[in-house]
Structure formats: structure tokens, C-alpha cells
């Protein structure tokens, strides 16, 4: 009598057809015992038609699937995987897919079918086979042999000579490379000089310029309204002939290529010239904030172009003297490109004009952030800051109910010189704290300074205590 057994899993159905005993020997079992296998159908969802075969196929499937799964779990592969003559073979495709190859028939007309299984499908296949194997009423003579891979099958069996080749190649390559490199001269490392426009560098630049005829020099006296951002030491310490009596020079051919004019003295002269000219007609009328422009000046000091840097500068352009000073080169002159120097020009609402060379203004000051971040120094400043605040804050029952947070700047000797409320309660109850009495307030943010300073977070709590922490935390560098 034909018996059918089916093992169902979500993505795999294993059906066995076979012959068995008609009479049930085991009283606890109502199903007859299947002893002889006729056909196997293995249906994997999404892969039609089902895989079919006989006993050889089933045995091969069991062995290969089980061994493959064990390899998948351990990650240990034998040095030769799989039996080439086996009907079923499994190979990994990627982490999540497994290729099942099934050969049908023997010899030259053998057809091979390959299915890609996902991990879950592979598990269902394994599980269907395992359930079948565990079923005592189905093919009890089939059994699963599970054992770990032997060390002998894992160990590499490459001959020693073969293993030595890569090592020998590596050594000889290294030897050859070191020989070749030994022949090359050792490169000299030259420290770059004058990365930033410091006075020494300017002097050096000026010395280099001495070999060439001065291209443009004028003799202005230092302007009385010199802007605060200009660097006075540049004019004082520069040894170049500032007030040389040479007449207004024409552009020399050497410098007339559009290369940016870079002689320090020349730039300084042009800067002063421009500053004076602009300051004459700027009174700071009707503007609420700084107007910033990038202004290009020819070597004769003629304004050749300008461009606004901030929004207000665009809308208030007509208020500045810039449009009246602009002289666009005539079409004939344009054939001779001239060297231009760029300046950053700031018109302040207070009526001042600040002029600085563009490159210098845009390059952050070279040396160092004067801010103190070293933990040791901060630790020394902390008690000074605390005592200043304590002494000025009587600590009577604060009126506020939420902590007031401030950013506070302290100079190197521990004096509080600037502060900024940092949360809303700090704005509202600022007058409760000692800060307005002892330091200057900056609403929008404490402006940068060149002096050594440290920033602290100061919190006045509603319980009447003061909490102090370095603004950037404790650092140990």
C-alpha cells in the first residue's frame, strides 16, 4: 500500500511517497510505518516546479543540507567542500542567500538545476528534513549523523614550498625597494616662512621688493582717524622707505600683469590713502549696523570695483562714498590689465571707516586663540571668579525660580570683564545678579579679544548657590 507523508513548513513542503507495512504494530501510533521510499517532492515557495527524486536524492539532500548548515553556523569550512559526485550541492551566495544545485540523471545528459534560497527558506528545508528524520514512522533506517568537523579536514594541506613562495617574494620585494630607496638623496625639509603677514614677514617681503623699482609710492602722513582694526606696527616697524620722494609712478610692465600686488609697504600706503579718502565723507548717517565691502584698488589708489559683503551694505550702498569714487577703466586702458589690491572696508554707524587688507582680514590671526582652555589654569581662575561673585551677591532669597545661566569672560588675572545672559530667566533677572555691577554686558555674544581670557558658565540657582564650570569643559591637554 502506498503511503504519503507530508512535512509542511511556511516556505517548504516535503512530501514522501512510499510503501509500508499495512498493519500497525505500535499501538500508540495510528499511522502505518513507511519502509520503502518511492518518490520525494520538495516544494520551495516561489521555486517551481518542485524538486523530485528518489532515495539517492533524499539521502544526498539530507547530508548536504545538514553539513552546509553546520558550516554556516560555525563559519569553519573544510579545505575541500562537498563531494563533487553528490547529487545535491549547496554553496553560499552572500550572507543571506544560499545556492542549491541539484543534478538530475547521470553522464553527459545530466541536467543541473540551481535554486537560490534565502536563509529562512534554507531553515525551512532543514527543518522539514529534520522532522522527517525524527519521525519514527517514516523510513526508520534513515538517520542523521551530526558530528563536528575534524581538525584534519580544516587544517590547510598546502605543501611547505608553496607556503614559502609568498614570503620569499615579500622579502625580496622589500630588499629591492630598500636598495632603490637608499640611492635616492634624503629630501631636505624646509620650514615654510611667512605663512601669515607678521611684521617680520612684511619686512622680508619689502627687502625682496628692493631689487625692483618701486611701483607706486605716495607720501601720506599717518591719518589721524586711523581705524582701530588697522595694524599700526606694520607702518612703524617696516624698514621699507615709506615716505620715499619718488613721484607718482606709472605701472611698470613687470607688475602690470594681473598678479595681486603684494608688497607690504605698498599695500599699507594704499590702505591709508583709501582710508583717508573714505573717512572724509562718511559720518555714519542713517545706518544701524556696519556696512562691509570688499574694495579693489589699483596701484594708483583708484577704486576700480567694490562688492558688498553683508545685506545692509547692499541696501545702503548709495549712502557711502564708494559710488562717487569708482572709476571703471576706459575701454582702451582695459587692454593693459593692472594689479589690484583688495581691502576690506567697514563703515560703522559711529562714523568711522575701517580699512584692512582683504587677505589679512579674512585670514584668522595666526597665533593662537588667546582663550585659556588648559584645565590647570582654569582651576586657578575658578576660585577668583567664585569669590568675586560671592562677595557681590548677598545670597538672600533669590526672587527668581529658575536657574540663571550666563556666559562670563574672565581675563588672565581673574577679573570678570564681560558677560552674556544665556537663557531667558538670565535676561529677565539679570539685575538680581552681581554681574551688571562688575562687568560689561554683551547681549548678542561676547566679542573676540586678543587678550588671554577664559570663558566660564555661571549658573545662579534658585536655591541661592552659584555653579561654575569652564565653558568648554575640563580638558587635559
Amino acid at each position: 500500500m502506498t503511503i504519503q507523508r507530508q512535512y509542511n513548513l511556511p516556505s517548504c513542503t516535503l512530501t514522501l511517497e512510499g510503501l509500508g507495512e499495512t498493519k500497525v504494530t505500535n499501538p500508540a501510533e495510528t499511522r502505518p510505518l513507511m519502509l520503502v521510499l518511492l518518490n520525494v517532492y520538495c516544494k520551495i515557495v516561489g521555486q517551481d516546479p518542485p524538486l523530485t527524486g528518489g532515495r539517492e536524492f533524499l539521502e544526498s539532500l539530507i547530508t548536504e543540507v545538514s553539513q552546509y548548515t553546520q558550516r554556516l553556523l560555525s563559519g569553519v569550512n573544510p579545505h575541500h567542500t562537498g563531494n563533487q559526485s553528490s547529487l545535491v550541492q549547496l554553496q553560499p551566495v552572500d550572507g543571506a542567500h544560499h545556492r542549491l544545485k541539484v543534478r538530475n540523471g547521470e553522464g553527459p545528459e545530466a541536467r543541473e538545476r540551481s535554486l537560490d534560497l534565502t536563509t529562512v527558506q534554507l531553515f525551512d528545508l532543514v527543518e522539514a528534513l529534520d522532522q522527517m528524520l525524527a519521525d519514527r514512522q517514516t523510513l526508520p533506517n534513515l538517520s542523521l549523523s551530526l558530528q563536528p568537523l575534524s581538525r584534519r579536514h580544516v587544517r590547510t594541506s598546502e605543501p611547505l614550498v608553496k607556503q614559502a613562495i609568498p614570503a620569499a617574494l615579500g622579502f625580496s620585494g622589500l630588499a629591492a625597494a630598500s636598495l632603490l630607496l637608499a640611492l635616492l638623496p634624503a629630501p631636505k625639509v624646509q620650514q615654510p616662512r611667512c605663512l601669515f603677514p607678521t611684521p617680520e614677514c612684511r619686512a622680508e617681503g619689502a627687502k625682496e621688493e628692493e631689487n625692483q623699482p618701486p611701483t607706486a609710492t605716495t607720501s601720506p602722513s599717518p591719518s589721524p582717524g586711523a581705524s582701530p582694526t588697522s595694524t599700526p606696527e606694520a607702518t612703524n616697524s617696516s624698514p621699507a622707505p615709506l615716505n620715499s620722494p619718488s613721484p607718482e609712478a606709472t605701472t611698470t610692465p613687470a607688475n602690470s600683469t594681473a598678479s595681486p600686488s603684494s608688497s607690504a609697504t605698498q599695500v599699507e600706503t594704499l590702505r591709508q590713502q583709501l582710508q583717508q579718502e573714505l573717512a572724509k565723507s562718511w559720518k555714519g548717517q542713517n545706518v544701524s549696523e556696519d556696512l562691509i565691502y570688499r574694495v579693489s584698488v589699483s596701484e594708483q589708489g583708484v577704486v576700480r570695483g567694490y562688492k558688498e559683503v553683508n545685506d545692509k551694505a547692499l541696501t545702503n550702498m548709495q549712502l557711502t562714498p564708494l559710488p562717487s569714487l569708482l572709476k571703471v577703466p576706459q575701454p582702451g586702458e582695459a587692454a593693459n590689465p593692472e594689479a589690484l589690491v583688495d581691502f576690506k572696508v567697514v563703515f560703522t554707524p559711529t562714523g568711522l571707516v575701517e580699512v584692512a587688507p582683504w587677505q589679512q582680514a579674512m585670514v584668522p590671526p595666526p597665533n593662537e586663540n588667546p582663550e585659556i582652555t588648559n584645565s590647570d589654569q582654569l582651576e586657578k581662575l575658578l576660585p577668583k571668579l567664585r569669590s568675586q561673585l560671592r562677595d557681590n551677591w548677598p545670597n538672600k532669597d533669590p526672587k527668581f525660580v529658575k536657574p540663571l545661566e550666563f556666559q562670563v569672560r574672565v581675563t588672565a588675572d581673574g577679573t570678570i570683564d564681560a558677560y552674556r545672559p544665556y537663557n531667558q530667566p538670565a535676561f529677565d533677572y539679570e539685575s538680581e545678579t552681581p554681574l551688571p555691577k562688575i562687568a560689561q554686558k554683551f547681549k548678542g555674544g561676547i566679542p573676540p579679544t586678543q587678550q588671554a581670557h577664559a570663558l566660564f558658565r555661571v549658573v545662579f540657582t534658585e536655591r541661592g548657590t552659584i555653579e561654575l564650570t569652564p565653558w568648554r569643559g575640563w580638558r587635559n591637554e
Binding site: 550572507g95 534565502t118 529562512v120 529534520d130 551530526l146 575534524s150 580544516v154
Partner: protein, 203 residues
Amino acid sequence: MSVTQLNSVSAKPTPYLLESLADFPVGETGCPRRARMQIDLMLLAIEALDLSGSEAILAMARELELQSIIPNRVALWRMRSSNPLRRYSQRRALTLPEAKALVIIGANLARRLTVLIRQLLLAYQQLTEKQLSLDHHFRLSDYLERFRVHFRARMNPRRSAVAAYTDEKLNQLAMEQLTQLLFCTGTYGMQRFWNSLFDGEVA
């Protein structure tokens, strides 16, 4: 006669459950290194799947009457700390009965979580097929994140093997653990997993 009796009384009876897993000669050094790592990672994955995973491990030990091997939390911690990657790795051997007990507990917990494990693996497969990031599946990204957090919290970051795990590699490791758990849920899954721990370690 009395001597043999005394001996048999003092020796702890081996729980019969352990006999479902084969014995391998491991000697004084205990289970191999890979087995120790693998078992700990398997339990780590269970803890990442199940919020009360560490409680569940102890509860399962009681349920399966494995208390003679895992009496309490400290014993469990000491066993798992035989994983060489651990932050406080113990230089102690993991004996065969201990390893068996942990694998049996792990496999039993995995069986309880079968539905979730399948869901997550299917979701992973769908997301990778569509080339979507794993964050699209809430439960999956939750598992991966918890696995990563547990791993980083417990493994020694000074070990190069641990430091080499980027988030992406940890996700991969977490998915491998999930696959292992899935295979542990099967009929012979636990035995296969147990044998895989000794692949290449036996004669």
C-alpha cells in the same frame, strides 16, 4: 562500600538533559575559544531580542532544572565572562557541562522567540532586496541597536578584535547571531549548533 556511597552522594548528579548533547574531549582547558565566544554572543542576541532576556536565562535554568550548574546570576556571569572578548574576561575554563547548559537554555529561549526571529530575518531580507536601510523596520533596527549597545557595553574595546567592529560590522554580527538562533529553534537545531561549536577542534 561506604566510601563509594559517600562519593556518589557528594558528586552532583548530572542533569539528564545534558545527555542530549554529545561529549567531546576538551581536556583541562575547557571549551575552545570560539565556542566560548559563540555561546556568549548567542545569549547576547537573546538579550537584544527580549527586554527581560537576562532574567529569562536564569528563569529558564530553573525551569530546566539546571540550577546545579547555574545556581545564580554571578555563576552565569562568570561562565559568560569566559568569552575572551569580554571587558572583564575571566581566565577560567568553561567546562563541558556548563557550555551544554548554556546552549540548552539558549536554544530553548530561541524556540520561544521563533516567530520574532523569523519576522526579523524576513524583514532583513526584504529590506536588503529593496536596498533600503535597516532603519525602515522598527523592530529590526531596535534589535540591531540593542545588540550594538550590549556588545559595546560588555566587550573590551581595547581588544583589536572588538575595536574592529564598526556599527556596520556589528549589524552584520547581529544578523549572523539571529541566523544561528533561527537554526537553533529546529528539531535538531540545538545539536547541530552544539556540534558546530567544535568544528575543527576535534581529532
